[in-house]
């Protein structure tokens, strides 16, 4: 039952990365690929209807984590106190920038929110990637069962490193580049004209950079957390996820070469899912590795709720998740096809009012 819920939480967070990933990436890119107000409204129009729903996967995934592994939620969230509050502030600013930009036609107002949107999106990608890096590297859980981490102490991963060290920043940058490619491909798929051309060029560049970083991150991960690689190499499921990574990459490259943007975007999604699945598959049953001693590792069994709660929750999850997917499909169908922006209707309330 713990393994099942480990899977459910992992899948929900992976869905979050794939879905919110493209709007984070598009946000990080949009200053470069969209230059005029009409073009920027095209970008925002492509992600506007879906970003809130995408972010809900983070909240729902967080809710599932509390439900299934309350101890992991408590230990992890309090240990990463400052970086998580930073994430919250960035989420607030990013949500505001998407929602408020359109309300006032003043060009300065819009330029301001465009920059806030780009910065918050890029920083969120880095911080979320660094968080993943921390989970892989491990944190100094001691005999009290808790940990606290400074933002940074030493640059190299080890006992005295903080939330940010060379490894976690590397994973953060890798995430930013990966999501930029993902978001660029999404825009290339959903837009037309100059925005599409620029998005495609940006995505090509990001994918090339991603390939280099992928090698670096893989090498560093094996160095930093050898136990993960060792456990992973013994599990057929992990080999399967690596096949998914390879398949995603193949689809991505093929889509780029043949100018099939939908295929490339799908490949990028597969690539991200495969990577996360391989990390999750290799980590099981450990939710949080201790850098102090493997004795203090926080395992799924130790952190889990009791069987009754998990079984009941499974029942209503089997009702709730299909419903959520149905809404999502309905929304995606409503907004399918390339996105075109209409000329903005004249606003009765000009910049001089209010």
């Amino acid at each position: 039952m713990e393994m099942l819920w480990y899977g459910v939480v992992s899948v929900m967070l992976a869905v979050y990365v794939v879905l919110d990933g493209f709007d984070l990436g598009a946000g990080a890119l949009h200053l470069f690929v969209a230059r005029t107000d009409t073009e920027r409204r095209t970008v925002l129009g492509a992600i506007g209807p879906v970003w809130d729903g995408n972010e809900v996967w983070l909240l729902a995934g967080g809710g599932a984590l509390v439900l299934a592994f309350p101890l992991a939620y408590a230990v992890g969230f309090s240990g990463f106190y400052l970086p998580l509050v930073l994430v919250l502030w960035l989420l607030v600013l990013r949500g505001l920038s998407i929602e408020l930009r359109s309300h006032v036609p003043n060009p300065l107002w819009r330029a301001f929110w465009d920059v806030v949107f780009a910065l918050a999106s890029a920083l969120l990608a880095v911080v979320l990637g660094a968080a993943l890096g921390n989970v892989i590297r491990g944190v100094p859980i001691d005999e009290s069962g808790t940990f606290g981490l400074p933002l940074f102490a030493e640059a190299l991963p080890g006992l005295r490193s903080g939330v940010l060290d060379l490894y976690t920043v590397l994973v953060g940058v890798f995430t930013l580049v990966g999501l930029t490619a993902h978001g660029g491909l999404f825009l290339a798929w959903k837009t037309e004209g100059p925005v599409q051309a620029r998005s495609l060029r940006a995505a090509r560049f990001a994918v090339a950079l991603l390939a280099v970083l992928f090698v670096a991150v893989s090498w560093a991960t094996v160095r930093v957390q050898p136990a993960l690689a060792e456990a992973g190499s013994r599990r057929p499921l992990v080999w399967l996820t690596l096949l998914v990574v390879a398949a995603g990459m193949a689809a991505l490259v093929r889509g780029l070469l043949k100018n099939q943007t939908g295929l490339a975007f799908g490949g990028s999604a597969l690539f991200l899912v495969g990577l996360l699945a391989s990390a999750a598959g290799a980590s099981w049953p450990v939710l949080l590795h201790s850098t102090v001693s493997p004795r203090f590792d926080l395992t799924a069994q130790a952190a889990a709720s009791q069987g009754y709660a998990l079984r009941t929750a499974l029942t209503w999850t089997l009702i709730g998740l299909p419903l959520a997917c149905a809404y999502f499909v309905y929304l995606a169908r409503t907004f399918r096809g390339p996105f075109r922006v209409e000329p903005e209707a004249p606003q009765p309330s000009g910049p001089g009012r209010a």
């Binding site: 925002l44 129009g45 506007g48 209807p49 809130d52 729903g53 972010e55 809900v56 909240l59 729902a60 967080g62 809710g63 599932a64 509390v66 439900l67 309350p70 101890l71 939620y73 408590a74 992890g76 969230f77 309090s78 990463f80 106190y81 400052l82 509050v85 994430v87 989420l91 607030v92 949500g95 505001l96 929602e99 408020l100 359109s102 309300h103 006032v104 009290s144 808790t146 940990f147 606290g148 709720s305 009791q306 009754y308 709660a309 009941t312 929750a313 999850t317 709730g320 419903l323 809404y327 409503t334 907004f335 096809g337 996105f339 922006v341 209409e342 606003q347 009765p348 309330s349 209010a354």
Partner: protein, 458 residues
């Protein structure tokens, strides 16, 4: 300054109070918008559509701020209250996860369709998306109230060998009787806030002689809704909620009512100041025996006084508990008076001409917010010193590894960020009110609007 508990409480109290300024409007407003849309659908009267469209814009702004300030709430259980989460997550994780699964997905999907989809959807489909949004936001409210109800009156759990709580009875936990009455009371308050906001802005327009068609129909609907909600707020929901407190948290009741001396025939203090040091109520105006009657159904019933309770089981701020409760009840009484009187004036056909009454409605806008906030302050302070009533003290629920300095820093950050958010919100809402429900105006230029208008649907 160095006590982390104080700062953790202040940060949670501040962020949750601020957050709830927005959902309390959107939940009630969702119901009123559904009613407006329904009347438009039934009568084909374009005025109701214009009204619904204007309030949808106000709804959208409130909803956006509610969403961005709501995300920190879900995180803070873990960041600031790790020991509480570890202790009770096995139970309250159920409602927190259900909120995500059943409410958030529903809300986030239909929000875009409702706000920007009017041109693309048929009138019926658009009405249905308004209903879906209403259901989603009210479900969200229920799951949060059920979570809070567990902290007030824990049911459906068992204590495991390691001391952590685990779910034992799903239905007992989800249908906690405390949750049912608290939810009813809270949702009436939400409708009351929405009705007052609708009425206040309509009164503002009428006093200025603007948008008279939409303003007068919104005022009529708002006044009727306010009258109904204010009465329901007292009876049965407030009354039953009070009995819950009397039955399950007698110490909280004593602090709320300022009762120090136990005994039968307890007086109900209308006003008066608690003097905790000398354990008495100063300058009281009291109704003899009334508290015994309200709490337990007869004038002779015995009500527990704080004198018979060890001080370490008292709410740690008896004065604020007492004042917050009396502010809520006092305002609630005035809402009933204003609501019923205005409904009578409406019936007599004098409401729209009585400028003095319109002034009162316009200026009444902040008071339901104050009453609701005071009500929640009462509920949360009266529960102290417990974070889970009878099971875990608040002082044992904090994160051990988060020091006071970090929390002061993040609290200051939240305060600054929320100040900016509040100013932006007021600026944008002010623009909308000044512009009013003009029929010529295109839907707001939000991204989704353009998407629906221009999407390349096959």
């Amino acid at each position: 300054m160095t006590d982390p508990l104080f700062w953790h409480r202040l940060q949670f109290g501040f962020t949750v109070t601020y957050h709830y300024l927005f959902p309390q409007l959107t939940m009630g407003l969702a119901l009123l918008i559904v009613i407006f849309k329904w009347r438009a659908l039934k009568t084909g009267d374009a005025g109701w559509d214009a009204a619904a469209r204007f309030w949808a814009r106000i709804f959208g702004l409130n909803f956006a701020v509610g969403v961005v300030t709501g995300i920190p709430m879900e995180f803070q259980f873990g960041t600031n209250w790790a020991r509480f989460s570890a202790f009770s997550g096995g139970v309250i994780g159920t409602t927190l996860a259900m909120e995500g699964m059943f409410a958030f997905f529903l809300e986030s999907t239909f929000l875009g369709l409702f706000l920007y989809g009017e041109k693309r959807l048929s009138p019926r489909a658009h009405f249905a998306s308004a209903v879906a949004l209403f259901v989603g936001s009210w479900l969200s409210g229920y799951f949060i109230i059920a979570t809070n109800a567990f902290m007030q009156h824990p049911v459906g759990y068992l204590v495991a060998a390691d001391g952590r709580l685990h779910l034992n009875d799903f239905w007992a936990f989800v249908l906690n009787p405390w949750a049912l009455w608290q939810y009813a009371h809270n949702m009436c308050a939400s409708v009351l806030t929405a009705a007052f906001v609708v009425s206040a802005i309509s009164a503002f327009w009428l006093l200025l002689g603007q948008f008279q068609d939409v303003a007068s129909r919104c005022l009529r609907a708002g006044v009727v809704a306010a009258a109904i909600a204010s009465v329901l707020q007292l009876f049965p929901t407030g009354d039953r909620q009070g009995r819950m407190v009397a039955d399950h948290q007698p110490v909280a009741l004593a602090a709320m009512e300022g009762v120090f001396e136990s005994g039968p025939g307890a007086h109900l203090a209308i006003i008066g100041q608690p003097d905790v040091k000398h354990r008495r109520l100063v300058n009281p105006v009291e109704v003899p025996g009334m508290l015994s009657f309200l709490a337990y159904g007869s004038f002779g019933s015995t009500v527990l006084g704080l004198n018979d309770v060890p001080e370490d089981l008292w709410p740690d701020n008896v004065e604020l508990t007492y004042y917050a409760y009396h502010v809520m009840v006092g305002l609630g009484t005035m809402f009933i008076a204003l609501g019923l009187f205005s409904a009578l004036w409406l019936y007599l056909g004098k409401l729209l001409q009585s400028r003095w009454l319109l002034w009162i409605w316009m200026l009444a806008l902040p008071f339901p917010y104050i009453a609701t906030t005071a009500g929640w302050v009462t509920a949360e302070l009266a529960r102290q010193p417990w974070i889970v009533h009878g099971l875990m003290r608040t002082s044992q629920g904090t994160s051990l590894r988060v020091d006071a300095g970090s929390t002061v820093f993040t609290l200051a950050g939240f305060a600054g960020l929320y100040l900016v958010v509040g100013l932006l919100f007021l600026y944008l809402v002010g623009r909308e009110i000044a512009h009013g429900p003009a029929p010529s105006r295109a839907p707001p230029r939000a991204p989704a609007a353009a998407a629906l208008a221009g999407g390349g649907r096959a």
